[in-house]
């Protein structure tokens, strides 16, 4: 069993960790760093509950090995807020009652934050008409549904998640 030492930044904090090379990012966060906000819903990349941000990009924590994160900047749901000041996406989820049990919520929130950044950078989605300009201000519900379709919610709060994501655009 090989181990490796890693330097990475998690929620703005430098961390030096020693990991079994088979450890996923999700298990590193939850089991070694005590950051249990990211959830394990399937451990197979099917549900999205473990979505975290690496350098601002959405990744599924259960499908990424921790050893790939040398020098990386990781943001989890615990790192979205600025102290007690919730991130606009968190605030919008509260205002829209965009969750019930809340288990998928950390993944939905990180996914939404990463998705809005993708849109801001002009990334098209599969529903973007060819040649259309992608921008946060022109984002509509169809685009949000498509771009958030990797995050399952069994309570069925989608009807509130979509407007919450739209409302969170700054």
């Amino acid at each position: 069993m090989a181990r490796m030492s890693l330097d990475l930044t998690v929620n703005g904090e430098r961390r030096k960790v020693d990991v079994d090379t088979r450890t996923t990012v999700l298990d590193l966060l939850r089991e070694q760093l005590g950051l249990t906000g990211s959830k394990k819903g399937c451990d197979h990349g099917q549900c999205g509950a473990c979505t975290v941000l690496v350098a601002g990009r959405r990744v599924l924590g259960c499908l990424v090995l921790a050893v790939t994160l040398e020098g990386a900047e990781v943001t989890t749901v615990e790192g979205l807020a600025d102290g007690d000041d919730l991130h606009p996406v968190q605030r919008a989820f509260l205002d829209a009652d965009a969750f019930q049990c809340g288990y998928c919520t950390p993944g939905q929130l990180c996914s939404a934050v990463g998705m809005l950044r993708e849109v801001g950078e002009g990334w098209p989605s599969v529903v973007t008409p060819p040649g259309a300009t992608v921008s946060v201000s022109s984002l509509g519900p169809d685009e949000v549904r498509e771009r958030m379709s990797g995050n399952l919610c069994r309570c069925g709060a989608y009807v509130n998640i979509v407007p919450a994501v739209l409302a969170a655009r700054r």
């Binding site: 939850r30 005590g34 950051l35 249990t36 906000g37 990211s38 959830k39 394990k40 819903g41 399937c42 451990d43 197979h44 099917q46 549900c47 509950a49 989890t76 749901v77 615990e78 979205l80 807020a81 919730l86 968190q90 989820f93 509260l94 009652d97 969750f99 019930q100 049990c101 809340g102 288990y103 998928c104 919520t105 950390p106 929130l109 599969v126 529903v127 169809d142 949000v144 549904r145 498509e146 958030m148 379709s149 990797g150 995050n151 399952l152 919610c153 069994r154 309570c155 069925g156 709060a157 989608y158 009807v159 509130n160 998640i161 979509v162």
Partner: protein, 723 residues
């Protein structure tokens, strides 16, 4: 003076969209679900499960597993100190299999180890010699087959004979309908943490729906007095019925007592599919009789529910299906026979809608078939027969409470239909990939369905809830063991106390078995009424003392019961239920005839709610229930093959995503206060799931002209219908 006379009522009372008290913790990632708990010295549990649906166990050798470094304990049936069985209605499910296994996934042994992967490796190292047997997987055959359990193969057999069983109508329609096995598929897999205590007992932190009944089952298996099993509710990542039954509770407590260490267990998604009960698959043969002008004369039905290997709640599920076999209609005559049987399929039990879902699919399919035979509009046929207060169920029970069925049908059917885009975006076509469907081969369909279900437990069960309210320094604290599973009971409890005591600061303390007596189960749409009633009762008792001039700390505990019910008699007649809730759904779908793909465009709904306690949360329950109803109609089924589960993953068992979720139009929330209910409010969680499935199926029939007597409707049911 009543509280509503006040000029400036307290914020966040009854009827407001008060926010969830656990909301900030949930969005901040600080809310501790059962899988997030850790304890010093903790080890990890894992369960070894049967790979066979039916087999004799010849030998178990745990030696090789115990020899693995890091393994602390391996336990089997011989290590269970008390009764090696549990169950909600009948204690017929072994904690660990002894001589035989009866379903794929049955627990055979449990391991505690220093790491979850060590525990899994140890499980693989346990030697179990099986002699595979031919599994009994056909529910109809199970009725007369040789028993596969000492308690026999029939969990329940029910006959309802109402009115004149020989009555006939001018017009008769028949059909045989099937419902597949649906999974609750909550996002947070089963998990818990058991901590051994110095007094020989155990502290169990668990996500569950009913703490006290779990505690009693654990205590019985461990041969401990119930007081030595102390359960605390840990954060619940969804439930939908699947957390009513014991899953890993006994296993981790036993491991904790064996090792003397805290033991944590978390199911993988595959284990979750194998390790909890599902919605009963069933087959239902129906015959409806009506007059030529569309009055129902008689409903005949024969229902066979596959309960799988162990009883769970098969009996009450079947009772519901039979009682509501005719739907929310006044029917003078009925003959209904129901069977719930044991097979070597996975155990089935509670899921949102609890027997009413299956019956609704059948009775609503029949109503459409009858309307077609009569040449009558299906909505008009339903209106003509709509049940109202003063009518009787087919069990002879008088509907004494509110029954606004006609209002639901009228308001829901009157909602404007969504516009049909003459040149829709390719991505909005069924399948959603923009490339699959030939636009000329996409058909729109509209379907309608109405449902009835009971609230609370039935048939003589002594159903109650307990709550305590303490008022001190201008703030109130509520203690109640009701399980918050995401439905928002904690919000409602705050609202009720605010309303009664006119204090804004209301704290909900942790739910556990040590501080207070049972609140009953978070199921049967019952907590708003039962625990809401207990909280209201306790708060009113505090209020009386305060109004009598008492100052300082005031504390009151209240036990709330609903009016008693009785079991059904031998003829299926009797006052088995407390109250009923109704809903109507209209589905609009687009169907790709070539590929068999369905896009559910919109669900319009009207629901009987008694009183809206929290508008945002009521709407959330309606939308969420519809998501699960749509799933059952066109997506979700546990595929069984000779007793093996073939799709225990979210790649193969598909639940609706944001893309699959239709628009939801709430046409009306009918507020007619229900007598006896706290604030007149009815439970709202289950109805959205019940008739939404039937409405979607009806809409797909409308679009395709096919019979489609089975849900979920699969692509091949449409695309290959002619071949």
């Amino acid at each position: 003076m009543t509280v509503t006379d006040r000029r400036t009522p307290v914020r966040g009372g009854v009827g407001t969209s008060a926010p969830r008290p656990d909301g900030v913790a949930k969005v901040a990632g600080r809310f501790a679900f059962s899988s997030d708990l850790f304890a010093d010295g903790m080890v990890w549990g894992h369960v070894l499960r049967s790979p066979y649906p039916s087999a004799r166990i010849r030998r178990i050798d745990v030696g090789p597993a115990l020899a693995i470094a890091g393994v602390h304990a391996v336990v089997t049936a011989s290590d269970v100190p008390g009764v090696n069985a549990y169950g909600l209605e009948h204690t017929d499910q072994p904690v660990f299999a002894e001589d035989v296994v009866r379903f794929t996934g049955e627990a055979v042994a449990a391991i505690a180890a220093d790491h979850p992967e060590t525990a899994r490796r140890a499980a693989a190292a346990v030697v179990v010699e099986y002699e595979p047997l031919e599994p009994l997987v056909d529910a109809e055959a199970a009725i007369t087959a040789a028993p596969i359990h000492p308690d026999g193969n029939v969990f329940a057999h029910l006959l309802i004979s109402h009115g004149d069983p020989a009555a006939t109508g001018d017009v008769v329609v028949e059909g045989t309908y099937e419902v597949g096995m649906q999974d609750q598929a909550f996002m947070g897999p089963e998990s818990g943490l058991a901590i051994p205590a110095d007094d020989g007992g155990v502290d169990l932190h668990m996500s569950t729906q009913w703490l006290h009944v779990d505690r009693d089952q654990v205590a019985s298996a461990l041969a401990l007095p119930p007081g030595l099993v102390r359960m605390t509710l840990a954060g619940v990542g969804g439930a939908f019925g699947a957390r009513e039954d014991v899953s890993l509770q006994v296993h981790i407590c036993l491991l904790a007592l064996h090792t003397g260490r805290p033991v944590k267990m978390v199911f993988s998604r595959e284990e979750s599919f194998l390790g909890h009960v599902h919605r009963h698959p069933c087959r239902m043969a129906y015959r409806h009789h009506a007059t030529r002008d569309g009055r129902l004369v008689k409903v005949e039905a024969r229902m066979v529910f596959d309960g799988g290997a162990y009883a769970s709640t098969s009996g009450p599920v079947l009772t519901n299906a039979c009682c509501f076999a005719a739907g929310p209609y006044a029917v003078p005559n009925a003959v209904v026979e129901g069977w719930a049987v044991r097979t070597n399929n996975p155990p089935c039990g509670a899921m949102r809608g609890f027997g009413a879902v299956q019956a609704c699919f059948a009775h609503e399919s029949q109503m459409d078939k009858l309307a077609a035979a009569l040449g009558m509009d299906p909505v008009e046929l339903r209106l003509r027969n709509a049940m109202q207060t003063g009518d009787r169920l087919i069990t002879g029970q008088l509907i004494s409470g509110t029954a606004p069925v006609a209002e639901l049908i009228r308001t829901c059917s009157a909602a404007p239909l969504p516009p049909q885009d003459p040149a829709p975006d390719p991505m909005a076509r069924p399948g959603g990939s923009g490339r699959s469907a030939d636009p000329d081969r996409v058909r729109r369909g509209v379907g309608f369905a109405v449902s009835i279900k009971n609230l609370m437990y039935s048939a003589g069960f002594d159903d109650f809830s307990t709550a305590r309210v303490r008022l001190a320094d201008g703030a109130a604290t509520v203690t109640c063991a009701a399980a918050e599973v995401g439905q928002g009971f904690v919000t409602l409890a705050q609202q009720i106390v605010r309303e009664v005591l006119q204090v804004e600061d209301v704290v909900i303390s942790a739910a556990d078995t040590s501080s207070i007596a049972s609140a009953g189960s978070t199921s049967a749409s019952r907590q708003t009424w039962m625990s809401g009633g207990a909280v209201e009762g306790a708060a009113r008792a505090v209020l009386r003392r305060r109004e009598a001039g008492e100052t300082g700390e005031i504390e009151e505990t209240y036990e709330h019961h609903h009016k008693p019910t009785t079991p059904l008699g031998a003829d299926g007649q009797g006052d088995a239920h407390v109250s009923y809730v109704f809903a109507a759904h209209r589905a609009v779908v687009d169907v790709d005839l070539d590929l068999g793909l369905v896009r559910v465009v919109e669900i319009a709904t009207s629901q009987d709610v008694g009183r809206v306690m929290n508008p945002v949360q009521v709407t959330g329950q309606i939308e969420g229930g519809i998501a699960q109803g749509v799933g059952l109609a066109v997506m979700e089924e546990i595929v069984m093959d000779g007793g093996l589960v073939r799709n225990a993953s979210f790649t193969d068992y598909l639940i609706p995503t944001a893309l699959d979720m239709p628009e939801v139009t709430v046409a009306a929330l009918i507020e007619q206060p229900e007598p006896g209910a706290p604030f007149g409010a009815k439970g709202v969680g289950e109805p959205p799931t019940i008739s939404s499935s039937a409405a979607v199926a009806a809409a797909v029939r409308d679009a395709t002209g096919l019979d489609l007597p089975r849900i979920p409707i699969r692509p091949q049911d449409i695309a290959l219908a002619g071949s």
